[in-house]
Point group: C2
Chain length 204, copies 2
DNA sequence: TAGATTGTTAATCGATTAACAATC
DNA sequence: TAGATTGTTAATCGATTAACAATC
């Protein structure tokens, strides 16, 4: 079983390795990875070793190979069909973000209680009433909750009832999901509170 | 010295306590807080004890008092002047988010290399060239980086040079900041990668 | 008083780091 | 071969949990 701490570091490894690959670098050592991420080389090796030995003694890690391995570990070797519920500030920002496609995440539709426009950035905006039917007719791997906090819970329920297994939640609530449902939160306010805590406790 | 793990839990305590206060609840036990956040009562008491004893044996915690204490600990008992650099999807979404004010975070200005409109949501959009001058003339407690990843580093440098001490970074890069500068990252792609990792490794 | 629940110490658990044999 | 660097075990460190005396 892989620990939370390890899982959270995987995307950072992946990001750094991708950067190296883009820069044409062919090999890298645990020491170099470690210093780029401000962690220890021991931890890098320990972490990667959880998934099998990708390196070679005396040589290090092959960047191209490691990139592919990490992508596979993270599940980035496939395409995900995504919908966004809530076409407010955040929903629209996410719909407009071009970067998702690079990683295989395709935003297929937006839903809102009050769909003021019919499409945003080429993505259709549907009325919330249509969500249930949409889920019956389309594959949805990931649903993004970008609603106000009051409706987040009922939206989550509707999504789960409709068969969605993975939820990416941007609403500032602690959602409870049943076993077998994957939930990942982005909590901007929590992050901002941590920033303010740190600002306050900074030794100047 | 308070550990990272504790600091990250503080906003969750605060959010829950605020919710109780809004609901008119007057007292709460560590057990109730714990079950709401899916942690142990021991941990709740241990965490809160780091900042002094806010509870009372045999009674629990007074919600109103705990709320005020947590707000003070998090530095939410004052007003912050904030600017946002980058008026793209995310920058605009943040500028439009009404909730910041409730916690005392005031967005005073936006900056963009190409300010296509003069104001968003009543917040002025300035040309990036004006950033330096703005920082000389105005108090800025927190600067948000909502640019593309390529410009994030140079923006951070400009902010730090201009005297900004706290940076809230939304760009997908590992920024390096000198001692005395507070940096907090929101990494959407990392969160999405974790979601995809968990989706892949879910036992269905 | 009896019951409840904190604050805090001690015990446990898990994660990080160090060390080094294996080996490219 | 000599040097470099991994994979992996063992040691250390820190965080979480359990326990309970203090006390409201």
């Amino acid at each position: 079983m892989i620990s939370e701490a390890v899982i959270k570091r995987l995307p950072r490894y992946y990001r750094f390795i991708k950067q190296l690959a883009d820069g044409g670098v062919e090999r890298v050592s645990s020491t170099k990875i470690a210093s780029a991420l401000s962690i220890t080389a021991s931890q890098v090796r320990q972490d990667l070793c959880n998934f099998g030995g990708f390196g070679q003694q005396g040589y290090g890690y092959d960047v191209g190979k490691l990139k592919i391995e990490l992508a596979a570990i993270l599940g980035l070797d496939k395409v995900y069909d995504m919908i966004i519920v809530g076409a407010g500030n955040i929903g629209r920002a996410l719909a407009g973000y071009k970067g998702f496609k690079d990683d295989g995440f395709y935003v297929r539709a937006l839903f809102d209680i009050d769909p003021r426009c019919s499409s945003i950035n080429g993505i259709k905006v549907y009325d919330m009433d249509f969500l249930k039917t949409y889920l019956q007719q389309n594959q949805v791997d990931i649903a993004v909750i970008a609603t106000q906090k009051d409706s987040a819970k009922s939206v989550a329920d509707a999504l789960i009832a409709g068969g969605v297994k993975s939820i990416w939640n941007f609403a500032p609530v602690e959602l409870e999901v049943p076993e077998g449902i994957t939930l990942e939160n982005i909590s901007m306010s929590e992050s901002l509170y941590v920033l303010s805590y740190r600002s306050k406790n900074r030794k100047n």
